[in-house]
Amino acid sequence: MSTEGTHTGKFRAEHFGTLGAQKDAAHLGMWTFLATELLLFTGLFAVYAVYRWAYGGLFHEAQKHMDVLLGTVNTFLLVVSSTLVALAPRALEAKRTHVATLLLLGAIAMGLAFLVLKGVEWGHHAHEGALPGQWYAFEKLRVPGASLFYTLYFLMTGLHALHMLIGVVVLAVLAVRLRRRTITAEYPVALELGGMYWHFVDIIWLFLYPLLYLA
């Protein structure tokens, strides 16, 4: 892709020859960053795989105490929010900046709803004593190693929630910049990158959901 922009001077940093090159660099940088992020989660997925292998029956038992309804609602919220974020650059391209801003605001609302539901769920677990390691006091499941499932559950959903929080902030900044017209159809790269990050966080959840709630 070497789509030479018309107003190169406005958006282009001087060490890039063309605006197209700068755009390519920004995209490649984001993909590389997402690869790093994926490897960060892979550490936890690997730990999950090891303990699932060692305590298969136990993990199965523990999953019966998960709130599948809340997990499913949250999955729905994330998938829809990702769709909204994906539509935003299209709206911007069609010069409908208001619509793009509204789409982002919708996604932010869904992200916040996800976090609230997640908090409610954590509250339930804490109330029942289904907590990691030394805090574990879950009466319904008292077998050796049972705390490991909840350790992993809290670590994985916690790290994911942290990413969600960052994602919400990113989307909010993008919405403000759209409103101030500092992101325009001529150079919508920031919006695309923010969207990539949001989709990544969404996709991580699509793996967490079956691993923690269904299988």
Binding site: H15, A25, G29, T32, A46, G133, L148, L155
Partner: protein, 537 residues
């Protein structure tokens, strides 16, 4: 060669004042900023190495008690691995030279580059604070369950190294994107300087392996704070899992340390034998091969940790593949030297030292990758000797070669050749005296990490300590003449080595924009079939 135009200031004088350095986005200045920190950390780590060697002069604990000794070797290891070796070549010479070598004005993300430096500085300060105010006794590897139960102050060190890891990832990301998107017109992949290839391979490892380290350090930190039980046998966890995750990063990390210095070697050897590389393609293959295979050999650190025989065998065999790729490179360097017009200089002496040491380090590496032999050598001084041959003998020699080769490029001044070659010889000789006895000690059964030892080991320990003092004198010598050269050294000119490397196609020191006119690299990067040095743009 065109005379340096007086009207264009170099990057050093383009802006004045400390503040202009601290908020610079110029990759060259950021490289220099890294160099300052990295050299400072190296001096600190070296000081504690001397303290350890001093303690080991006698069998009794007379300089450091056992606890102080544990803290000192943790200090030495943490500083040398995380604060010196991993960032050493990529962040300093890589930052300075990579954009110039690909004909770019800067790295792809200059602000991110400066941010990485601040992250590194912050991580370094937190780590050092942890090491000095409390001090940990876990060693640089933080093995569980000891690291989760030790009463010493492990937490700030974990946090510090975690932050440094992020700095390393961002530098790698920046380099990858720079190589992909900012190469000058006509600079195809197979015409990139070999140093750029080495940095590219290193960056891939940094981006793909470091997050796993970040995660495992985080898990140990959470374990210490909240007792979550992931690595605690009492709660169903498995401490060996820590080792797997840790070495999944930390073994490739060895290649983060060695690959860039191998790139330095390729540059230095071509420049001082005034010959094209014996095989450009094979060096590229070796670089990519090491970067790839390095990801699949971590299990050789766990031969005696209850790993299955099949697993150990596979990891042993994969580890030996690294030796094949390394020997391809060594063969190519020697092939380049053979019948070259060799110019004896300090960088070349370090390069020759590197080749000699990687023979020993590499071959003993194959030896300890052999499962049956490793049972005898595991956790002995044999292993200490092996990895010091790689990390000091090779990586550090490569760093010194780079420092001496590119010093006139970076600062425009020349150091005196005689003292430089003298120090190089002293350091190489001192290194052999320090670390050769370690192989013998380890083979006799001397275990690692002890402040005391039986009297029959003393002679070899005395030799090792004597060698360490020679090393110290060598480094003091370097510090002396480099500081002198920085202030009073004669001006070096644009290309004092008459090197044909791309980086010498800009002025020395380069102007802030790197090139005054857009460069065109018409020849191969190490082409000595033509006599004249490249035109200065």
């Amino acid at each position: 060669m065109s005379p340096p135009p007086a009207e264009v200031p170099s990057y050093l004088t383009a802006e004045a004042g400390l503040w202009s350095w601290l908020r610079t986005k110029d990759h060259k200045r950021i490289g220099v900023l890294y160099l300052v920190l990295v050299l400072l950390f190296f001096a600190l780590g070296g000081f504690f190495a001397l303290a350890l060697r001093l303690e080991l002069l006698t069998p009794e604990p007379d300089v450091l008690g056992p606890m102080a000794y544990n803290r000192a070797f943790t200090l030495h290891g943490v500083i040398m691995v995380w604060l010196f070796l991993i960032p050493s070549v990529p962040t300093t010479f890589g930052n300075f030279l990579l954009p110039i070598m690909v004909g770019a004005r800067d790295v792809a993300f200059p602000r991110l580059n400066l941010f990485s430096w601040y992250l590194f500085a912050a991580g370094g300060v937190i780590t050092l604070w942890g090491l000095f105010q409390g001090g940990a006794d876990t060693g640089w590897t933080f093995y569980t369950p000891y690291s989760t139960t030790s009463g010493t102050d492990v937490l700030p060190i974990l946090v510090g190294v975690f932050i440094i890891g992020f700095s390393s990832i961002l530098t790698g990301l920046n380099f990858i994107v720079t190589v992909h998107t900012l190469r000058a017109p006509g600079l195809t992949w197979m015409r990139m300087p070999l140093f750029v290839w080495a940095l590219y391979g290193t960056s891939l490892i940094q981006v793909l392996a470091t997050p796993i380290l970040g995660m495992v350090l985080l898990l140990v930190a959470v374990e210490r704070v909240a007792g979550i039980g992931l690595f605690d046998v009492g709660r169903g966890g498995d401490p060996v899992l820590f080792q797997h995750l840790f070495w999944f990063y930390s073994h490739p990390a060895v290649y983060i340390m060695i690959l860039p210095t191998m790139g330095v070697l390729s540059e230095v050897i071509c420049a001082f034998s005034r010959k094209n590389p014996f095989s450009y393609r094979m060096i590229v293959l070796g670089t990519v091969g090491i970067a790839f295979v390095g990801f699949f050999s971590w299990g050789h650190h766990m031969f005696v940790a209850g790993q299955s025989v099949a697993g150990s065998g596979a990891f042993g065999a994969l580890s030996m593949l690294v030796a094949i790729f390394t020997s391809i490179k060594v063969f190519t360097w020697i092939g380049t030297l053979y019948r070259g017009s060799i110019v004896l200089s300090a960088p070349l002496v370090y390069a020759l030292g590197f080749i000699f040491f990687i023979f020993f380090g590499g071959m003993t590496g194959v030896a300890v990758a052999t499962t049956s032999a490793d049972v005898h050598w595991h956790d002995t001084y044999f292993v200490v000797g092996h990895f010091h041959y790689i990390m000091v003998g090779s990586a550090l020699m490569g760093f010194l070669a780079a420092l001496h080769y590119w010093f006139p490029k970076m600062f425009g001044r020349m150091y005196p050749s005689g003292p430089a070659i003298g120090s190089a010889v002293l350091i190489i000789f001192g290194f052999i005296v320090t670390f050769l006895p370690h192989f013998l000690l380890g083979n006799m059964g001397m275990p690692r990490r002890y402040a005391t030892y039986p009297a029959e080991f003393q002679a070899l320990h005395v030799a090792s300590t004597a060698g360490a003092s020679l090393l110290a004198y060598g480094f003091l010598g370097i510090a002396g003449y480099l500081v002198w050269a920085l202030v009073k050294g004669p001006l070096a000119g644009d290309n004092p080595w008459r090197s044909h490397g791309y980086e010498w196609a800009s002025h020395s020191p380069p102007p802030a924009a790197n090139f005054l006119t857009p460069p065109e690299f018409e020849r191969e990067p190490h082409d000595y079939t033509v006599v004249e040095a490249p035109r200065v743009y």
